[in-house]
Structure formats: C-alpha cells, structure tokens
C-alpha cells in the first residue's frame, strides 16, 4: 500500500504517479521506476533544502559576450588612455590569456553613461529603459569564466562546465524542485527567432541527469512544442478515442505483469501528453494580453517585438508554474549576436535596443503583478570583452576581443537586494580585484535563492557525486536581501 505523503491516506500507485508527475520536467517517476533500472534510481527531490526565496527563475542569456565596459561598467581611466598602448599591470601577465598581447591599444568606451535610480547605478544610456528599474537590479562584476571561447564559455555559464555533456542549470533546478504545473514541463527554453545559440541543445540538455529534466524548447509561433499537434489525427474526439484504446491496451499488458512501475509510468506519461495537447497552446496565445501589456514589452515595435515576445512568454510561464525559463538572445556568434570584434559602435547598440525595453517591461510587469517577489531574474552573457582593440579591428571599425576575467551579470527579483553590487575590477576591467567571483558562485546563488544548496544537490554518476558547482560555489550574500 502506498501512502499519499500530503494527505496521509492510502493511494494507488497511478494516483501517486500522476500527482508526482509535476509536469514532465520534474516527474518523480524515477523513484517508482527504480526496480527495473539502475539508471533511474535517483529521483528528483521535489523539495527544497531550505525555504526558497524564489519559486521561479528567468535566465536571460545574451549570446556572444556582452562588452562590459560599454554597458554596465564605466571605466573613465580607460577613456583617458584611449588610443594609447595598454599599460602593463603588475601580476596580470600570468593570469591573462593568449588574447592579451603586449602591444595592444586601449579603447575607451564610445558610449555615454548615466546614473540611474536612487541607487545611482551607472549604465550606458543605451540601456535607458533598464535604467528605469535600476533599483531592482543587483550587479555582479569581475566574474571569472573558465574559457575565452564561445562554445566552452557558453557551456560554462549554462551548465557549470566547459565540456559538453553536463546538465544545464535549469535541469538541476527541475531535478531538485520539480514543476508546479501538472500540464507543463518544469524547464522551458526560448531562443532567438533568428537561430539557436552556440552548442545548440547542449545549452539546455540534461547531461547525465535523466532526459526528463532537459529544457523543452518553446516555439513562439506555430505549435509551441515539438509534436504537440498530430499531423494525422483530425478531431479531438478521435484523439481521445485513440488515447483510450492505448490506455486500455497498456492496462491489459500491465495486468499480466503484476504492474511494474515503468509500465505505469508510461501510462501516466501518455495522460500528461494528452493534457499538454490541450493546455500548452494557451501559453503562446497572447490574444488575451491587453495592448498596454503588449506595449510594455515592445510588441508594437519590430525591433523589440521578438525578444519582447520571449519575455512576455516567460512571464506567462511563471504564472503557470514553470520553474525555470531560459531565454537566449543572439544567434550563434555572427552579426546577430553580442560578439562584437568589429563595429561595436553600431552593432552593440543595435543588440541592446532589442532587449532593453523588453527586459525593463518584464521586470515592471512582474512587479506590478506581485510576481517579482517569487521570481528570480538573472541577466548574463558568456564572457567579457577586452578593454583594448580587437586584432582584426581598425579605425572606425573598432571592436573588442574575447576576455574571461571580468564578466558582468545582474540579478533581480526574489531575495535580491536591489541596487547592490558585488565584485569589482581594476581601472581597465582586465581582472577582478580582491576576492575573485567565479561562474559557480552565480550558480550557487541561483540555487540558494531557489531553496537548494549547491553542495547538497548531487547526482551519483559513474561513482562520483556530481554537482552543478563541482567542488565550490559561494552564495553571493552581498547582493541578497
């Protein structure tokens, strides 16, 4: 006999499965599958280690490497040596990568900076809309990434390791917490309409965690989820009859095999699939959003519309209990990304314009609905850029190369102390001053706010207890409320 943990009453295995299915993201099935497969003997906890501050997380990933000194980190000293040789800072040579050569020319930011909000947060004016919510944001400066290459750095920021094959942050969260919605996955992904990020699905995959925790790609037009709609089954009635026959067939089959849990799990998965067919299309149907809300996200402007739609969908997913939404902006690392080796004066503001209003709108909207108290918003990219000129850039086509010692990210929302800052870099934004902050600290902080401890959230894989943050990870208490 099985006891329902919530009511204390006996329950059927099927009921339990359905209740614990938690969307296909966080299904607690594997615990019930364990008899048959070692691989699935580690189910999600579906409960936090400590009371969470944030129930949901929206992770905004700007693909390509946002130039920190042109956006969120004003360096007046750099402007002073614009066009001159970069001075050699003591002790830096050993820390820096191949990109750093001795004969490089400093480039001051060509962009105007301003102070915003009561906190006096300094930002480039191209992020003027975001400036309007500056007091909600908590900045992290001088973040160390393990690689200056797009592919590796992107994996590092999204999965905690520069090598592919590891679970993404959202997969860990889904594994740790499960979903709140019975009809939707716990972890959804929306990428740039122009194309996916470097590494493709490795950015949202479940690595060595079961496939049930991987991010589900949500498409902003057409059927929102792959295979959601049948190409052959016409009516809902037909579909129901088909499900009914299938369930009957599977029940007959299970009955003769004294009902092993894998079989039951699969029956339950089909019932969820059926419900998803009904519920999932509603997420992407924005017709119920009033014009005021649509405009808040910039849906009325072709420049801001694509990312605005991603942001609005993210809010709708929060409302529906999706734990973790990954929003990617920027396609591969070509001209439509944040990878500005050249012509940064034109291309960087073009990218910023696409996201500035939508992100500001998202934060305002979440706040006005009381959702910002339970939702963590994280904005990041995969690396920083050099304060000096890129190798291939010249004259007016100035740009910056990859750098990995001074990335800037910000947090907002649940449990975050708005207007605060942690970490700092030297006067040229070459490397972190004082205590280094590492990508794993960002991850530890996200997990912490969501009620999970990074050192306790483990998964046994090939004899090792693997963690998102591997052997470290400091919660950045300085920016927590």
């Amino acid at each position: 006999m099985l006891i329902d943990l919530q009511t204390g009453k006996p329950t059927s295995r099927r009921q339990l499965l359905l209740q614990s299915f938690n969307g296909l993201g966080g299904l607690a099935l594997s615990s019930l599958l364990s008899q048959d497969s070692l691989a699935s003997t580690q189910p999600p906890r579906n409960s936090a280690h400590h009371p969470p501050k944030a129930k949901n997380c929206i992770f905004l990933f700007m693909s390509g490497g946002v130039s920190q000194v042109d956006t969120f980190e004003n360096k007046p000293e750099l402007a002073k040596i614009d066009g001159q040789r970069m001075p050699v800072l003591p002790g830096l040579a050993t820390q820096l990568d191949a990109y750093v050569r001795s004969d490089v020319v400093a480039v001051g930011s060509p962009f105007e900076f301003r102070r915003y909000g009561e906190s006096g947060r300094e930002m480039a004016t191209m992020f003027g809309n975001l400036g309007g919510v500056a007091d909600e944001l908590a900045f992290v400066h001088g973040i160390e990434v393990d690689s200056p290459l797009h592919s590796a750095a992107t994996l590092h920021v999204t999965t905690g390791s520069v090598f592919a094959g590891n679970p993404s942050v959202g997969a860990w969260v889904a594994y740790g917490l499960g979903s709140e919605n019975e009809n939707l996955p716990a972890y959804m992904v929306l990428h740039d309409r122009r194309g996916g990020p470097v590494n493709g699905s490795a950015v949202w995959q479940s690595g060595y965690l079961p496939a049930s925790y991987q991010g589900t790609l949500l498409r902003s037009s057409g059927p929102p989820i792959l295979n959601l709609k049948s190409s052959t089954v016409g009516s809902a009635e037909t579909s129901r009859r088909e499900f009914d026959l299938l369930r009957w067939t599977n029940e007959q089959h299970a009955a003769g095999r004294n009902a092993t849990d894998t079989l039951e799990a699969r029956i339950a998965a089909y019932e969820l699939a059926y419900r998803m067919q009904t519920h999932a299309p509603g997420i992407v149907d924005l017709s119920d959003e009033p014009a005021s809300v649509r405009n808040l996200y910039g849906l009325d402007n072709p420049v801001t519309e694509p990312f605005g739609r991603q942001c609005l969908l993210a809010r709708r997913m929060v409302e529906r209990g999706v734990r973790y939404s990954l929003l990617v902006h920027g396609w591969e690392n070509g001209v439509y990304s944040w990878d500005h080796h050249k012509e940064i004066r034109d291309w960087l503001p073009a990218r910023a314009q696409e996201v500035d209003l939508p992100i500001a709108g998202l934060i305002q909207d979440l706040k006005s609905r009381g959702l910002l108290d339970q939702t963590l918003v994280v904005f990041t990219t995969e690396m920083s850029r050099t304060p000096f000129i890129a190798r291939k850039a010249y004259g007016a086509r100035v740009g910056r190369d990859h750098h990995r010692h001074s990335m800037v990210s910000w947090f907002a929302g649940a449990g975050v102390k708005g207007g605060s800052t942690v970490g700092a870099t030297d006067e040229f934004s070459l490397s972190c001053l004082d205590q280094p902050i590492h990508v794993r600290d960002i991850h530890a902080t996200i997990l912490h706010l969501m009620g999970l401890e990074s050192d306790a959230l483990t998964y046994l894989h090939e004899g090792r207890h693997k963690r998102l943050t591997d052997t470290g990870g400091r919660v950045l208490n300085e920016i927590l409320a």
Partner: protein, 803 residues
C-alpha cells in the same frame, strides 16, 4: 555479526529508516551521497560525514548524533525528532552490530588483484542450474531465501533474445518456427541463428559505440565533420560480427598504427583515440594537454574501469592512483598526432555502395560547379565593366579580387562590403553562395557536394607518432602537472603502468629502434592491457557484456571499478566469467552463449515473490529478469521493420533521416546546412547508421535517452516523459510508418479487418490478439481506419518494452 543482527536490521531498523529517512537518503535520492536503504549504504555512509554508523558504538555513530540533534542539521530535516523508542531501538541495534564476516571475501575483493578462478558454489537446488553462472546466482538467492523466478514462456523468451541480439522483433514466421520446435536444442539453434545474423553486429556494435563516444563530428564551436569516421563505426560492427577476440580489438584500437600500419582494416581502429570532444582552449599547449588528458582518462575508464582522470590534479581520493601515475600513464600517448591517411575499403558490399555514392556525389558536384561558375562569370563580367568605368584594369577581375571587392571578413563570418557598384542584394546573394565551413569554399551547394564526395573517399582518421616532439625538437618528455595546471611542471616521469595494478612504478620498457629512439609507444601499453594477466581488462569487458544483457552490471558502474564505484554484487561470478572469457580466447560470442544459456537469463521478468521484493527490492540478486524499455534506436528500427520499410543496406557514410520542420534553424550552422536530409530508402537505414552529429541529435533518439556523445557513456539512462509520448503519437516517423504498416496489413492479410488486426498483433507483439482485443480494435478500425490501429500499436507498452 551475531546471528540475527541483520534480521533485526531488516525487521526493525529498516522500517524506521524507510519511514523517516528514505525520501532524501534512499536508493533514489541519496542526498549527500547517503543511502540508508541498505546495510551497505549505512556502512559506506555519505559525502559529508562518512559512515552513518560505527558498529558497536552508537555514541560515535553520525546517524545517532543527527537523530539526537548533537550534530547540525538535526534529522529528519525540517521535521520533529523521532520518538525516543525508535531512537533507542536504533542505538541498541548499532551496539549489537558487528561487521559482517560472511562475505569477508567480498569485502576484500579488489579490482587490482587477480583472484584466479573461483569454484562455482554448492547450491541446494542443483537441478535449477543449467551452467556455472546459475550456481553463483542461486547461491546468493538461497542465502536470502529467495526463489528464482520460473522460466519465461517461450514466446517471451524468444522476443527477449531477438531484441537483445538483433534489435528487432521476430517475424511471425520465425515465431511459428521456433514455437513448433519443442526440442531442447531449439534454444541453441535460435542462438546460433541470431549470433550469426549480421544485425547482431549492428546491435552490439552500438553498445560499444556508446562507450567509444562515437560521433561523426568533432563538436565544439567548429563542430567539423569527421568525414571518414563511419569507417570506425563499420569496423566495430564487423568486429562484433566476426567475433574478433577482444584482446585484438583492444590492441587495434590503441596501437594498430604501430603494429599494422599498412593494414587499413586494423589501422582504422585507432580512430577510437580521436573521438574525444575537442579541447576547449585556444592556447596550443593547453589544448594539447587537454587532448592528452581526455585520451588517457578515456582509455583508463573504457578498458580498465579506472577513473584515472580523478588523479589529474590530485592523488586519487579513493583509489590508489597517485597523480604521478596519471602522468606516467598519459606518457604513452605523448607523441600522438591526428592524421588522415588513404585506406582502401576492403569490405565487399560497402566498397560498391561507397563507389556508387561517390559517383553520384561527384556528378552533383560537377553540375553545381558549372552552375556556380556560370553565376560567378556573370558577376565577373559586371566587375570588369565596373573596373573599366573606374579606370582600373579589367583583367584584374578574378574570383579572388571579386571576393575582396564584395565582402568584408569580420571575426566570425562575412558581411557585405560597403561599396557602391554592386547592389546589396547582389552581395548578399554572393555571400549566401559562399561557404566558410569545414574548409570548403566556393558555392554553398558546391561545398555540400564536395563534402559528400569527401565522405566517400577511401580514407581513414587515424593517428601516428610524431617524428619529433610536438613541442619542438627532441623526443617528448613528460612531467607531472602539479594540480593539473599545464604550466606547473612537477617531476619528470617516464611512461609506466598504474602502480596500483603492477605494484611498482618502474618505467615500462619501450621498444627502441637501431638508433636508440623509441619506435613503439602505445604497443607496450596495449599489450599490457590486453593481457590475461591484467586483472582489470577481462573483468571490465565481461561486466559490460553482462550489463548489456541484464541492464545492470555485476559492477553497476562499469567504467569505474574503483572504490568509488559500486561494489560487485557477485564478485566470484565476475572473476569466474573473466577467467572463462580469457580461456575462450576472449570470445564475446562465447560469453553470450554462456549467459544466454543460463537458467538465470531464462527467468521470467514477472515478480513472483513478495519475499524477493522485500529482501532484494532492487533485484540486485537477479531473482527475475528486469523488464526494460527498449533503446530509441531499437524502437525506431522496430517500427521500420514492422512497417516493412527498413532499409537493411549495411555500412557506409551516415544517413540523415528528415528532421521536423520546426528544427530548421538548428539545421543551419553559420548558414551552413548541418544536416542534409536523405531521401528515399537512405533515410530508413538502421539507426546505427544515422549520422551522429554532436549537438544535433535525431530528436526521437534524443528523447529516448540516446547518449550525448561527448564523453564515453557506460550505461543508457531510461527516462519516461510526456515529450516522448508526444513524439511517438504525433511525430512524423510513427505517423508515416503507421500508414505503411496499414498498407502492409492490407497487402498481406487480405480484406477482412479481423485478419488484418491479427496480423498486426503478430508483427508488432509476436502474439495473437485476445478476443477482447480483436473486438475493440475492430471497432476502432471501423471508425478511425487501420493506420490509427497501427499508431496505437506502435505506442503500446508491449511494443517498446521487452519482458
């Protein structure tokens, strides 16, 4: 342990732990690595505090201290403390508890030491055993008072064998033939047939490809295609089909370039060493070191079951592997360099298939080239007139100058150049037709066709030893890298075997040429690994074979036999099998016969005994055969086999089944088609032949837990998700093949719907429909049509699940 202490654990202690602790510290969640569901789990303990109990000493036991709140956090976390009575019961039990002596041998068992050939134990139900395997299994079951399950019925057993050995269901004719043959030797005949079937190599080769991290592209940002890697895939399939002795299989993959450099069929095996994901550094010496780390680590885990990589930065925390040994082991690989060499295709069938493919690709290329040149000539003509107008030299208009004129290279691509003579549309079209991936420039289509030609050239990816050190003049020298840091050189070391196995850290003797230079680096390593004396190699492989049959290895972490892996459930059986494996001449098929002829394997999958369920809930002792969902590849192949559309052509370059329309953005990498959908029968070859591109998997296979081929994968996960259900219900493969399945039924069963449904059940489930099934399916077919019936059958648990 005093008699009864284990029973007390089961009867009194386990229920307490079950109720209060297992939600977080059970087999399933193992928070902090702690698993309190078994005695072993209590003794091995968790990551934070070590063993949960100190036998005989409740006051020193962490379990007691957290229960009493003496150590934070007090347990159960977030709930009220346990009632005093329960705490005292646990304390009393710990006090009485003495470590088990019965399995002293098991506790002593070490992967690093050979144990010889244990005698199969005596068992009371002697008659149950069909061969020695069964005695080892039965002995453990009898200790626990568990009865083995009865033999599976012949139909189910047959279906199990088919999926297991050839990855497809039997045809109705094969079912009939087997069931009609009731003699004791029918089973043997079936085994002979299936082990001789070329589909066997396709099925079992796939297992090895998981381990070998097989992929047709490099991964990483460039994600370049490895044009000839399919030759390695075919090599693996052939090796299983021909039952290549495993010791040779090992040696060829590690060192064939050193001992058979001119034999393409052996040399192709060294591609194994090239399958690692690319290094993630731009600094050459760092990238080189990362590459060597990957190679050494993978060789260690795949062939020796040792997590050598753990010793890359620090001495291994659990196994006797010092950092020094990692770099000594790695030193065998110091001079390796990736090279592609000409190597003719010797295999009949494949040779012709590839020649045809090459001819077709060359033809397409020529047509594309002509079309591109015509296009380019038009542009050049315009360019000449532009130059004339500008007063320049028209004869300077060449394809190269045209490109300079129209495009600008930016760091990660090409953009139209800002110049007035050509329209933006012209420049965009020009750039569209150029390609900048995989080293092929020219018209974009042309690039694709050149790529297709390249795949069909008789070449292989292999390695060779650099004539000089890749680091400069002189022979390569190996240093320990302190803390794994590339530039932090420690002691200089020479190539050598892990001291944990050999008991010495003397250098390994490397053969020298007449000038005194090392001429074989990896051959000595390969010979040492593939030696009967090596205590690890045979055990690791028989354990993998066991896992691929039963779903779980005797050592359940097959690439990690170390202290941090899971201890063997049947150490004596493992040793006996390893000895048998070597004695059989390292024959994998001999192992199959042994295992598949055992009474153990022939058991039913149904759980018959409640006692077994309680005493061995995870079925570690094998009192039945675990039923399993099939792998994605097997499911796809079975759908195609049943719909009669499977293309059984074997070997050759990878094929590209169509991807969903919704994935079209993922099919382009930097505007370059990363996926070239095959049409017609090519797209319906067996799944093992699907082009395996890193970062772009066939969605159906990905959803069904296909491994991420970046790293060696020791075991398939099995997950169940609604996304899988949607893919099976609504995805294109099932939708299309259901139509063809229906057409087949009409074709072969005639017009009577009942006959059609009967045949459908025979094909899909290898059985007759029941009366109730016939009635319900018939009703459904009348309303929704036969294809809908077929779709339901493809989705049924019975189709994707094997007993």
């Amino acid at each position: 342990m005093p008699a009864g202490a284990e029973e007390i654990f089961r009867s009194e202690i386990q229920p307490i732990l079950n109720q209060h602790c297992l939600a977080c510290h059970g087999t399933d969640s193992q928070l902090s690595g702690l698993n309190l569901s078994t005695l072993e789990g209590l003794l091995s303990g968790g990551a934070r505090h070590g063993p949960a109990i100190v036998p005989g000493h409740p006051e020193q036991s962490v379990l007691m201290r957290v229960l009493r709140g003496e150590v934070a956090p007090s347990m159960p976390m977030g709930s009220a403390p346990l009632p005093d009575g329960k705490i005292q019961a646990i304390a009393k039990w710990i006090e009485q508890f003495k470590p088990a002596q019965e399995h002293a041998d098991d506790n002593d068992w070490s992967p690093f030491r050979a144990n010889g050939r244990p005698d199969p134990p005596d068992v009371s139900r002697d008659s149950w055993a069909r061969n020695p395997i069964d005695r080892f299994i039965l002995a453990r079951l009898e200790e626990q008072g568990i009865d083995p399950a009865p033999e599976a019925d012949r139909r189910r057993l047959m279906r199990r064998l088919y999926f297991n050995l050839v990855g497809e269901p039997p045809t109705p004719e094969e079912v009939q033939t087997f069931l009609a043959d009731e003699g004791e030797s029918a089973h043997d005949r079936l085994l002979d047939k299936l082990l001789g079937d070329p589909r066997y190599g396709e099925r079992w080769g796939r297992h090895w490809l998981d381990v070998a991290r097989y992929s047709d592209s490099t991964g990483g940002e460039a994600n370049r295609e490895l044009y000839h890697m399919w030759r390695y895939r075919d090599y693996v399939i052939d090796a299983f089909n021909s039952d290549k002795p495993y010791d040779e299989f090992v040696k060829e993959q590690l060192a064939a370039d050193e001992f058979a450099p001119t034999d393409p069929d052996k040399r192709v095996a060294t591609a194994f060493l090239r399958l690692g994901a690319p290094p993630q550094s731009q600094i050459r010496r760092v990238a080189r070191q990362q590459h060597l780390n990957e190679v050494a680590g993978t060789v260690g885990s795949v062939f020796l079951g040792l997590s050598l990589s753990c010793a890359q930065c620090h001495d291994h925390k659990y196994d006797p592997i010092p950092t020094r040994d990692f770099y000594r082991f790695q030193a065998f690989f110091l001079p390796i360099e990736n090279v592609n060499v000409d190597a003719e295709i010797t295999k009949e069938g494949t040779r012709e298939l590839v020649a045809r493919g090459r001819g077709a690709a060359e033809q397409r290329l020529n047509l594309a080239r002509e079309a591109y040149e015509a296009y380019e000539n038009q542009l050049l003509a315009k360019f000449r007139s532009v130059l004339r107008e500008e007063g320049g030299d028209p004869s300077s208009a060449t394809p190269a100058t045209l490109r300079v004129r129209l495009t600008d290279a930016v760091a990660n691509g090409v953009v139209p150049r800002d110049e007035p003579s050509f329209s933006r549309a012209e420049k965009v079209e020009y750039i569209r037709r150029l390609s900048f991936v995989d080293g092929f420039r020219g018209g974009r289509d042309m690039g694709v066709y050149r790529r297709q030609v390249e795949r069909h050239l008789p070449k292989i990816h292999t390695i060779e030893n650099a004539r000089e050190s890749p680091y400069g003049a002189g022979l390569p020298v190996q240093f320990v890298r302190v803390r794994g840091e590339v530039d932090n050189l420690g002691e200089r070391v020479l190539p050598g075997f892990p001291s944990a196995v050999t008991g010495t850290d003397d250098p390994a003797p490397l053969p020298l040429d007449s000038l005194g230079n090392v001429n074989r680096w990896r051959f000595p390593l390969a010979t040492w690994i593939a030696s009967p004396e090596n205590p690890l190699t045979a055990r690791v492989m028989v354990n993998r074979i066991w896992q691929w049959h039963f779903g779980r290895g005797i050592v359940a972490t097959p690439s990690n036999f170390g202290a941090n892996g899971i201890r063997p459930s049947h150490p004596d059986l493992l040793d006996w099998l390893a000895d048998e494996f070597v004695a059989s001449g390292w024959s994998v098929k001999a192992m199959h016969r042994l295992i598949l002829n055992s009474a153990t394997y022939r058991q039913s999958s149904i759980r018959f005994s409640e006692h077994a369920n309680e005493a061995d809930p995870s079925n570690t002792l094998l009192s039945r055969i675990p039923g399993r969902r099939l792998e994605g590849e097997v499911i796809r192949d079975s759908i195609l086999a049943v719909s009669r559309r499977l293309n059984r052509a074997r070997g050759g370059p990878g094929v590209y089944p169509r991807l969903p329309e919704a994935m079209k953005d993922q099919m382009l990498v930097k505007n370059w088609p990363a996926w070239e959908p095959s049409s017609g029968p090519d797209s319906r070859k067996k799944s093992v032949y699907v082009f395996q591109r890193r970062q772009l998997a066939l969605p159906l296979l990905e959803m069904l837990d296909a491994p991420v081929p970046q790293v060696s994968s020791e075991q398939r996960r099995i997950s169940t998700t609604a996304i899988q259900s949607l893919a099976m219900l609504n995805g294109r493969l099932v939708a299309e093949e259901a139509q063809h399945f229906a057409a087949r039924l009409e074709d072969e069963a005639g017009r009577d719907p009942r006959d059609q449904i009967t045949l459908a059940f025979r094909l899909a489930f290898s059985r007759e429909p029941t009366k109730a099934e016939l009635r319900r399916y018939n009703e459904f077919a009348e309303r929704e049509g036969l294809a809908a019936v077929c779709r339901v059958l493809f989705n049924a648990n019975e189709f994707v699940h094997v007993d």
